[in-house]
């Protein structure tokens, strides 16, 4: 029997800059283009969090979305209205590309939710409507 999954959408706004200190300015510009602009630039990110698991026959639900919303929103506080390169410790060493942000978010959300037996199946992170990264097991 195929499984059922449930997804909830979240939004956060953040700025970032693509830059590697150990590279020359030329090399940075060549690789990252306009994403190197010195003071950063921003996006309205859209995050889809997808969970799976058995449906509780007593509640008819896989998870209580209110609980998921509370936990994910708490995690997003470190991302929302921040300059990721400076304000979020996860991007001290790595460039805050959509791929890297998605990986960091997957690990954080997974660690928080799996603690209570929720099964994180997948996340999808939109940087804008025409660009997204996905992480799943």
């Amino acid at each position: 029997m195929t499984r059922v999954s449930i997804s909830r959408k979240f939004e956060f706004s953040a700025s970032h800059r693509y830059w590697r200190e150990e590279w020359t300015a030329e090399k940075n510009n060549e690789v990252f283009g306009k994403c190197t602009s010195p003071y950063g630039h921003g996006h309205n990110y859209e995050l889809h969090v997808t969970l799976s698991g058995p449906i509780d026959p007593k509640t008819g639900m896989i998870v209580n979305l209110t609980e998921v919303k509370k936990r994910v929103s708490r995690i997003l506080e470190d991302f929302d209205h921040k300059y990721l390169n400076l304000d979020n410790p996860h991007f001290k060493e790595q460039v805050p590309t959509t791929e890297n942000i998605a990986l960091v978010l997957f690990r954080l959300i997974d660690a928080d939710l799996s603690h209570d037996g929720f099964e994180l199946l997948k996340i999808r992170l939109y940087e804008k409507s025409d660009l997204y990264a996905e992480v799943w097991r």
Partner: protein, 139 residues
């Protein structure tokens, strides 16, 4: 061998109330909050139906779209403009959550197509949450 899917989007609107006979009034409100509202509430559901198959050599189609529409509408007509708890027998002893609703849809859609044609369902309850069921590995 490459696979091709074909998807169509449908909408229907229905009312429901989330309330479990296993729990008392207070516990039900604690679990479902405003979805527990005694007289119910409703949604404009959006359903994406995906079929998988080999395009027919003569028509170039996986499945005739007009026929697909009529098959899907047949199922959606059992829900459209209804109060799920009160008017759809399936939900007499099942809670009308979207987890259960998508299973109802899968069950009724699957048997209207040849085996393995129904590939994926995505059911949007609001613009902020959706439910999926399907054969793909990474849903």
């Amino acid at each position: 061998m490459l696979h091709v899917t074909f998807s169509r989007v449908y909408t229907f609107c229905a009312a429901h109330r989330l309330n479990s006979p296993w729990y008392d009034e207070m516990k039900n409100f604690e679990i479902y909050d405003k979805c527990n509202n005694a007289s119910g509430h409703g949604h404009d559901y959006r359903l994406e139906v995906s079929l998988i198959g080999t395009p027919d050599r003569q028509t170039g189609m996986i499945w005739d779209m007009v026929d697909m529409d009529s098959k899907v509408r047949e199922v959606l007509d059992t829900l459209d403009y209804k109060h799920l708890n009160r008017e759809v027998p399936y939900f007499r002893d099942k809670i009308a959550t979207s987890e259960n609703l998508i299973q109802y849809l899968w069950m009724h859609l699957e048997k209207r197509f040849p085996p393995d044609y129904l590939y994926h369902l995505k059911l949007w309850e609001t613009n902020n949450n959706y439910f999926e069921m399907g054969r793909s590995n990474a849903q």
